[in-house]
Symmetry: C2
Subunit: 334 residues, 2 copies
């Protein structure tokens, strides 16, 4: 490779309806359970990878949202670039990576999902490495589990699988199948004390973990069916129960992970009140953090959003419908 090779990819974040929590194999990032998510069209990461054999520093550089990133974040990206180079069968040159999120990074939106999906696609394209979506999904998974799902648009299931090749995502329904809205109620933008990546290794210490995993076949079937038939009244209880079950596992792990804040509870109680008292069809889910995602159809979105913004402790409300999978938006130059 003698010339600079560069590519840019864009990947939507995703919100899981059945959560990924707990690793079965930490080296391959194989999960304990299948998960299902909606890829978010309006909350995305754009990443440019430039392989630079003539790098004066002879080292990778990483910019996130315009600022140089070092330490564990940069190391995690470099390890991922090593994987891409290994797939290409080359001794890799240093890379310049610039990543930009169109949402606040610590807003409770899964930035590592969109970041590692975009990084995988951009890095492979910049090397001229042609991988099919199965191989890209497996690659993205090793960067961040939920990134395997952001490869695809619409509604996506990540099969737990049993090895590197089989633990990959596939689309369940396209984005235009059902226009659900994710309203993200941001209650804290503080960095998490325990990252999801290290939290995953604690799942097995909870006395409730195996019971949650065992219950998921039924929950996954319910979510697939609700998505196929666009049935929010079937989808909603299943996603609330699994979000609560995942947080139950987190809270009862050793050490205990308590991601919720007072405003988290204010939102959960409000959602149930709006449903019970006003018949507002909206359900919640919560990732590994204090922020709450409210899922509804477009007809209810304005009512939900305005009520949300009046709650104490809600700092911002972001919004997204389903979107496309990871897309190469600037080709490599060869």
């Amino acid at each position: 490779m003698s010339t600079t090779a560069k590519a840019t990819a864009r990947a939507g974040s995703n919100i899981a309806f059945i959560k990924y929590w707990g690793v079965a194999d930490a080296s391959l990032n194989l999960p304990l359970n299948n998960s299902i998510s909606m890829t978010l069209g309006d909350l995305y990461t754009t990443t440019t990878v430039e392989w630079d054999p003539d790098s004066p520093l002879n080292a990778d550089t990483l910019q996130i949202d315009g600022a140089a990133a070092t330490g564990s974040k940069a190391e995690r990206v470099s390890r991922h670039l090593d994987r891409v180079a290994q797939l290409a069968g080359i001794d890799r040159p240093p890379a310049r990576v610039a990543s930009h999120n169109n949402f606040p990074m610590a807003s409770g939106i899964a930035s590592s999902a969109s970041a590692f999906a975009a990084l995988s696609v951009a890095a492979a394209a910049a090397l001229g490495l042609h991988l099919d979506t199965r191989a890209l999904s497996a690659l993205a998974r090793k960067g961040s589990g939920s990134a395997s799902r952001s490869l695809f648009g619409g509604y996506v299931e990540w099969e737990r699988g049993c090895d590197d090749a089989s633990s990959i995502a596939h689309p369940l329904q396209p984005a235009d199948h059902w226009a659900l809205i994710d309203l993200v109620a941001v209650v804290s933008t503080a960095e998490k004390t325990v990252s999801s990546a290290s939290g995953h290794t604690l799942a097995h210490t909870s006395p409730l973990n195996t019971a949650r995993i065992a219950s998921l076949d039924r929950a996954l079937a319910q979510v697939r069916s609700a998505l196929a038939t666009r049935n929010l009244a079937e989808l909603g209880p299943a996603i609330e129960q699994d979000a609560l079950a995942m947080h139950a596992v987190m809270m009862t792990s050793s050490p205990s992970l308590l991601y919720w804040q007072p405003a988290t509870l204010a939102i959960l109680q409000a959602v149930r009140r709006w449903r019970a008292n006003e018949g507002l069809p909206v359900y919640f889910t919560i990732d590994a953090g204090p922020n709450v995602h409210l899922i509804c159809e477009p007809a209810a979105a304005a009512a939900v959003s305005s009520r949300l913004q009046q709650l104490d402790g809600v700092q911002a409300v972001l919004s997204s419908g389903p979107g496309a999978g990871t897309t190469l938006i600037q080709e490599a130059l060869f």
Copy 2:
């Protein structure tokens, strides 16, 4: 019975370290699991039962904290009086029952535990019925499960048992064995939307319930050992984990029971912050409601209490050490 027969008993409430949640047999009130609690010396119910063959109304009357009580509460008390009369082998006369709590009824303190313990002892004594503590514990259990524990002072375990005679409590350690303090942070005095009595019948609908039950042998052993050796650092993590596991079961039941409020989370996070940042040895537990019980030793109580009172949403802080079992304070007249 020709003369009026009257007796008064006092019973402390109790705070469970390993919770009772879920019934195995609803008619006998047999629980799914053993539970362990501390009987509270300073938060108690005083109940007078007067059997009155000459009652002009020919019906039971019930006063709670000076106000006439009717409806489901009064029926529950009358059903309990039926049980006492049945044990005595008599057709019972109507009764006048007056019950007084020295704490606000909906404050998150288990008023049904102290109420049914006191009612059992007073009603039996007023009939001249001599029951040993095993029989009284079984009787109280049928009124309210946790009342079986309030029969005894200090630290008490309720054996799940397999029938009416075997599902009874017994003391583990006397009250003077260890001067733990329960500081009750009251965040809401609203009546619960779902009473614990009906919540117990939902436990089996949670996918996490059997896992919690299966994990309790270990947790019970840890709590017994921590009590025996007065080891708060061993007791604390076990009681926090079981409180969180019980609420996990509640939240993931169908329908889902979400008892926590924003201030509940503020307290849980504060307790962990005080432990981590200040080394303050205090742990939390939570009954079926939004209020939080903080468990510490006397040396830390003032510091915990003053910090608690500065938290947003804490309306009051009540306090109690361990106390005596249910006591007859006025004998029947025969």
